[in-house]
Amino acid sequence: MSETTHSQVSFSDELLKEVNRVIGQFPEGKQKSALIRVLHIAQAEFGWLSVPVMDYVARLLHIQPIEVYEVATFYSMYDTKPVGKVKLEVCRTGPCMIEGAEKIVKYIEDKLGIQDGETTADGIFTLKTVECLGACGYAPMLQAGEKYHEHLTEAKVDELIEAYRKNPVANYMGQESNLNTAKS
């Protein structure tokens, strides 16, 4: 959390292989199309997108750094400032508001002693309110890393904060499906 930039920026061989797989999905010369995916990979790896990280991605894709900066600042999922290990992103839109999203946000703020957009002193949690995440039937909800936590109650928030405090790895990849709530 105290870091304000990254000094050592490079992907492991495994991640480079993944980057090349993604680039390979697009025709020759259209490798810029891989940018959004590669930035997700970089953010999962380095925690946030500092200038050195964005410059590294630009070199990987043979594009200008500005082409990366303008994308990184446009999309809401990218963090261009340091954040906690676990981002608790609470949906605040329409149906989630009806089902009590504001109370959940307030509860988390009080529990963690931080406001919307802030990070806890231990660097574990960042709280962020976000717009509709497509879980309107299972509201209120929050996303942590790739995982959707739905039908939230204060008790459930206690539980998941406890679990993440013990094991603060929400930004892992390859998570299994977690939605089994909907009826058809």
Partner: protein, 450 residues
């Protein structure tokens, strides 16, 4: 009993995996189309089916396909719009997560119909775990010969991949989606040229919603005429509805487009009625951007006829007394909900999601949000209501893409039908912080505009 064409197998154990999907009749439409039909014949079936775009606009899919330019030697692309972000809508996520191979099957048949050899599914970045489900299913499809070179020995080649966004509602607009897929900011393009002529990498491109592409599978299997027998008038086939808000049974429902709104809200087959025995106050039937309807216009049209879950019936009365089917994001409000607060919430959403390209939308959404905020928090003035009306009118129709309209409509409809509630917020600033206005009283329809 309602026929289900997309979700009929969704509860079969293991249907997300290839083997179970195949055993349950999966990929039949690919065999049929590639081996026994020409691409134009597939397009013809889709035209006959009357299928309309399921993402919100409701444009006839067969017609959209027939606009695709086919210059010699230029590759064409099919893009699936899985950027589901319209508040109230979560049907595509459900479909992709539960039965991913249905989308892939639809992508193969549709790509074949359009002569596309490289297709992409563009999925919102927040659905990253769904992307992984789709990638697994795509790998299975390659391994079993449904994707790649010379599919089923017919000489048809197709590569399919899935690629994420990173948090931007605007990328659900098709030209913004294309920009994003090219690795850029999601700024919508000025049309023309339309994507059908110059889309992805300036090549002819079709962009279709997840549900639209999935619906091509039953259309090819059973024929367009069979599909068109379901539903009423120009609302053919089945529609996925994402139901949320103050109802007993939120979730995703596949309906035949012939049931009444009343049945959908109150029957135990669907929403199961209003939660906690409350009364219905309002309904947004097609995602946050469509006009909100007050309780007396939800189940009946202004003419007193039963309102149906169809494109036409939900739009009956125009914006004066009707709404839209939209994306099928069906949000129900009970008597405890505050319309001003809800409108402020939606407007904050559109302000947050405006790409910033066009000033009416960039400035107007933020301005409306501020005015609505002060109304909601007891600092509003009576002239603020007319000011809001004025701003939304200056946004609508004055922007490159429909986000401006989408931001204007909910504000206009809220004032049109719930003006007394806005006035009450001005007159009773203290009371409005503590309790809600309750049901809007029945009133004439002319009082809408000032």
């Amino acid at each position: 009993m309602t026929r289900k064409l997309l979700l009929d197998k969704v509860n079969v154990e293991g249907i997300a995996g290839y083997d179970v999907y195949r055993k349950n009749g999966g990929y039949r439409s690919v065999e049929k189309a590639l081996k026994t039909m020409s691409p134009d014949e597939v397009v013809e079936e889709v035209k006959k089916s009357g299928l309309r775009g399921r993402g919100g606009a409701g444009f006839p899919t067969g017609m959209k396909w027939s606009f695709l330019a086919k210059p010699e030697g230029v590759p064409r692309h099919l893009l699936c719009n899985a950027d589901e972000s319209e508040p109230g809508t979560f049907k595509d996520r459900y479909l992709m997560e539960k039965i991913p191979h249905l989308l892939i099957e639809g992508m193969i048949v549709s790509s074949f119909a359009l002569g596309a050899n490289q297709s992409y599914i563009y999925i919102r970045g927040e659905y990253m775990y769904v992307l992984r489900i789709l990638e697994k299913a795509i790998a299975e499809a390659y391994a079993n010969g449904w994707l790649g070179k010379n599919i089923l020995g017919t000489g048809y080649d197709l590569d399919l991949s899935v690629t994420p966004g990173a948090g931007a509602y605007i990328c659900g607009e098709e030209t913004a989606l294309i920009e994003s897929l090219e690795g850029k900011r999601g700024n919508p393009r000025i049309k023309p040229p339309f994507p059908a002529v110059k889309g992805l990498w300036q090549r002819p491109t079709v962009v279709n919603n997840v549900e639209t592409i999935a619906a091509v599978v039953p259309i090819v299997n059973d024929g367009g005429e069979e599909y068109a027998k379901i539903g009423i008038g120009r609302s053919t086939g089945t529609k996925l509805i994402s139901a949320g808000g103050n109802i007993n049974k939120p979730g995703v429902y596949e309906i035949e487009m012939n049931i009444t709104v009343e049945e959908f809200i109150y029957s135990d087959t669907y929403c199961g009625g209003i939660k906690n025995g409350k009364r219905l106050k309002a309904c947004v039937p097609g995602g946050s951007s469509v006009p909100i309807l007050p309780h007396y216009l939800v189940c009946k049209t202004a003419a007193g006829e039963d309102r149906l879950m169809t494109y036409e019936s939900l739009a009956d009365g125009g914006f004066a007394t009707g709404s839209m089917l939209g994306s099928g994001g069906f949000i129900v409000y009970d008597e405890d909900q505050c319309i001003v607060r809800n409108t402020w919430n939606f407007t904050r959403f559109y302000h947050h999601e405006s790409c910033g390209q066009c000033s009416p939308c960039r400035e107007g959404t933020g301005w409306m949000e501020k005015v609505l905020h002060r109304l909601e928090y007891g600092h509003g003035k009576m002239e603020d209501i007319n000011l809001l009306w004025d701003i939304q009118r200056k946004i609508e129709g004055n922007t490159i893409c429909p986000l401006g309209d989408a931001a204007a409509w909910p504000v206009a409809a809220a004032i049109r039908h719930f003006r007394e509630e806005f006035e009450w917020h001005v007159n009773e600033p203290k009371a409005c912080m503590e309790r809600n206005y309750g049901l809007v009283t029945e009133k004439t329809f002319e009082t809408a505009t000032a």
